[in-house]
């Protein structure tokens, strides 16, 4: 197990290095000149040249990459072109709303989707199964922003139960925190929930037709025990896989959800930075998201061995 875990951890290093190279290259692949952006509309070519030299943009690519990588390893992601603030500080300011949104979305999705998938498989072919699948199709096919507007219209404007927008830190109390975050989490979580529910249902159907399930039934194991102790554990590998893969969709969805609900998170920071071509911020956030994604998949890999000890790569 330890050797397997070590191998998996070491395997992430080249992946992160490749991501870092790609992220750094963004600045040079993209059209335009960061020095000209910093200098503004009214700068002379001399001013632009001076800024270019001060940013070190006149040095060879490899040297700049090594310098940048060394700074990143020390936690220095550079400064934003527009705010002049350290990127790490900007990320720190924005990380709480995004983490909160993702955590709540994940909690809601897993709490509802897995039981829904299990029950749909158990009640295969009945109206319950069809209802679960219809809900899943709705979740898949409705864009996050449509669900977001719909929820805000009903629960904020018409019923006046919840706020239209904004974010309140958990440090100001659990209820205000949840009041602001519940609609965005439901909007973002619906597609994720649909994905997990469908995979859970399909995998459970496969597992429930296995011989050992029939044997368990013959031995008199109760329905709940069969479903949640025997079948679900054996169906866990594809479910965990889809949770990991779906995490990328969650990151993408967070960008839209944060805009619709005016949540000042990393998703909005990314969109704002892309629209303004604030390359140091884009680099910092993309690198962070990539690392998070790599780590999530590493955890998924490690979980495989927990659910199925036969797995060894």
């Amino acid at each position: 197990m330890l050797a397997y875990a070590t191998r998996r951890v070491l395997a992430t290093i080249p992946v992160i290095l490749i991501v870092a190279l790609f992220v750094f290259s963004l600045l040079y692949i993209a059209p335009g000149d960061p020095a000209a952006i910093i200098a503004g509309d009214q700068a002379t070519p001399d001013d632009v040249e001076r800024i270019r030299a001060s940013l070190g943009l006149d040095r060879p690519f490899v040297i700049r990459f090594v310098d940048w990588l060394w700074s990143v390893l020390q936690g220095d992601l550079g400064n934003s072109i527009f705010t002049n603030l350290p990127v790490s500080h900007m990320i720190q300011q924005r990380i709480e709303p995004t983490l909160s949104l993702m955590a709540l979305t994940l909690t809601l999705s897993l709490s509802f989707a897995i039981p829904m998938g299990v029950i749909a498989a158990w009640k295969h072919g009945t109206w319950i199964d069809r209802l679960v699948m219809m809900t899943a199709v709705f979740g898949f096919s409705t864009p996050v922003f449509v669900i977001g507007y719909l929820l805000a219209f009903v629960f904020a404007l018409k019923l006046d139960w919840l706020p239209v927008q904004g974010f309140t830190s958990i440090s100001h109390g659990l209820l205000p925190f949840l009041r602001n975050l519940i609609l965005p989490a439901v909007a973002l979580g619906l597609v994720y929930m649909a994905l997990i529910a469908r995979i859970t249902r399909a995998t459970m159907l496969d597992v429930l037709s296995q011989d050992y399930v029939r044997t368990a039934k013959a031995k008199g194991v109760g329905q709940r025990g069969i479903l949640f102790l025997h079948a679900l554990k054996n169906a866990a590998v594809p479910i965990v896989t889809i949770v990991g893969i779906g995490f990328a969709a969650l990151i993408g969805g967070a960008v839209v959800t944060e805009s619709v609900f005016a949540i000042p998170g990393l998703g909005r920071l990314t969109v704002d930075a892309i629209l303004r071509r604030d390359y140091p911020v884009i680099q910092g956030v993309v690198l962070l998201f990539s690392c998070v994604y790599v780590v999530v998949n590493l955890i998924v890999d490690l979980l495989y061995t927990l659910f199925d000890p036969r797995i060894r790569y």
Partner: protein, 524 residues
């Protein structure tokens, strides 16, 4: 925790306001864009201009009629045949760090601004020195009379804002200041600022307002709210919903198609606060492709119906736009009739086609950069492109985002190497109040704004206008300027739009002008 106290705290918890909203009845304002830069000398961003109006001051401010009025100064004395201006600072001016405002702070601030502002050559050509005679006296020694000096000192984009000498003389004008220390009626609260989310301002208790009634950025800046919070809401529908639900108090720029929905809400008022608005324009490239041909540019000007552009952008409420316009803001003394037939008498498609033939246009490709993420630009350039296609122009319409246009427009390359022919833009209408500050109209070739028009007639008219002795002479020069502009077409005007703002009914005292200002505003 006991059950009873848990229930009590749970009941109270939903009432807790987020940290940003702490304080006594803060006025919550939704700006048109995210506040990214805090230096109004470094950037021309409109949102930074609005921020600067709160925390910084200029020696002179503009009133509602856009005339300069003393703001930080008591006034000025002109001597030595107009070649010596003495300005005396008002008594009791204090920086937000508690130190007094001194004349040498102002000299350092002006020097920093002059290194950055496009109007610097005009000023440098007339000013020998700016000196601090004593703590409250500024002396301008000029090489020749410069009656328009106060017009420059009251400009707002980029603004000659005053800051302490320790900042102004040490921060490179090509770098942003990181410490915000002004002497305006509001203090910026850096601890409550998260770019992309929110910013907060507290009333500056040591600020002594002038005694005159406030008129836009002049007169007494009396503050009636303890705290103003800016909340960035990027999605227009969400912002409108937040106003309707009473979560925010004032939207600077609601999307025009959401105004009817807001008008139906009993708790919301809509109206025009920005009485000047924005000039919608198309910028042709004067050095590359078919638009380098002035005959083609004149045909393009004739092909585009400004009224259609404005209806597409703002809807059919004529109180929110003016069209057709020339190269000055309608209603201003400069708004000459010279050449207005070019935009008032619409030509037929065949007539425009003939203009193109006469200009030698052979169906060459025009690269139009079309920003789909800018609501107003997207609307009026869609109409303009359709009009250009109808007259037979070969349009390569490249849909993109505004950020890409900002990156591509400095390119002076030919079209086949990534160059461009046309892009839309919006310029604050006050820039077009006279020839003085109209940056997109400057036609000084390589030194001009992207597109690089080169027309000595426009430049000569501007130079003569600056040194003109009388208003009558200026009116004549404005006519010359506009006639030259209709001939060389540095820009294609597409109308003037004045979008409505929206605010809660319990917010009163909002002032009209060309930017949102917070003095005078009260929240019941």
């Amino acid at each position: 925790m006991k059950r009873r106290s848990f229930l009590a705290s749970a009941a109270i918890a939903p009432l807790a306001r987020p940290a940003i909203a702490a304080g006594n009845k803060p006025l919550i304002f939704v700006p048109q864009a995210n506040l990214t830069s805090l230096d109004p000398v470094w950037t021309t961003a409109t949102v930074t201009r609005n921020f600067a109006l709160m925390v910084y001051e200029t020696l002179y401010g503009r009133d509602e009629a856009f005339e300069p009025q003393p703001l930080m100064v008591e006034g000025h004395v002109i001597e030595d045949d107009g070649k010596r201006w003495t300005m005396r600072l008002r008594e009791g001016l204090v920086w937000h760090d508690g130190t007094p405002v001194l004349a040498r702070d102002c000299v350092a601030s002006l020097q920093r601004w002059l290194k950055r502002d496009a109007s610097a050559p005009v000023i440098h050509a007339r000013v020998d020195a700016i000196e601090a005679k004593d703590d409250r006296t500024l002396v301008w020694r000029l090489s020749k009379p410069f009656p328009l000096l106060t017009r420059f000192l009251s400009k707002v984009q980029p603004a000659p804002v005053m800051m302490p000498e320790r900042i102004a003389s040490t921060v490179d004008p090509f770098k942003q200041v990181t410490e915000v220390v002004g002497c305006g009626p509001f203090r910026f609260l850096p601890a409550d600022y998260v770019s992309g989310s929110h910013a907060a301002f507290a009333r500056f208790d040591q600020y002594v307002p002038r005694q005159e009634p406030a008129s836009y950025n002049s007169g007494g800046h009396k503050v009636y709210v303890d705290r103003v919070e800016w909340k960035v809401v990027p999605d227009a529908a969400t912002a409108a919903n937040a106003l309707a639900a009473g979560e925010v108090d004032w939207l600077e720029l609601p999307q025009p198609d959401l105004i009817p929905m807001l008008k139906r809400n009993a708790g919301v008022t809509t109206g025009q606060l920005d009485i000047y608005g924005t000039i919608a324009l198309l910028r042709p490239n004067h050095i590359a492709g078919p638009t380098a041909n002035p005959g083609v540019r004149r045909a393009m000007l004739a092909a585009i119906d400004q009224q259609e552009c404005m209806i597409a952008a703002m809807g059919d409420d004529p109180s929110t736009w003016r069209a057709p316009i020339g190269f000055f803001v309608p209603g201003m003394p400069s708004a000459t009739e010279a050449g207005m037939d070019n935009v008032r008498n619409r030509k037929t498609v065949d007539q425009v086609k003939k203009m193109l033939d006469d200009a030698g246009y052979k169906g060459d490709r025009l690269v139009v950069m079309h920003p789909t993420d800018q609501v107003v630009y997207n609307a009026f350039i869609t109409v303009a492109v359709d009009a250009l296609r109808k007259v037979g122009m070969n349009i390569d319409e490249q849909m993109t985002d505004w950020g890409t246009i900002v990156q591509r427009r400095p390119s002076r390359e030919p079209l086949e190497k990534g160059g461009w022919s046309l892009f839309p833009a919006g310029a604050p209408a006050p820039e077009f109040a006279s020839p003085l500050l109209s940056n997109p109209m400057r036609s000084n070739g390589p030194k001009a704004w992207f597109g690089w028009p080169d027309d000595p007639r426009i430049e000569n008219a501007l130079a003569a206008w600056i040194d003109a002795d009388s208003d009558a002479e200026r009116r004549k020069l404005e006519a010359d300027y506009q006639l030259a502009a209709f001939d060389s077409v540095p820009i294609i005007p597409c109308g003037q739009y004045m979008p409505h703002a929206a605010w809660r009914k319990n917010v009163t005292g909002l002032l009209r002008g060309s930017a949102p200002v917070f003095w005078g505003a009260q929240k019941a």
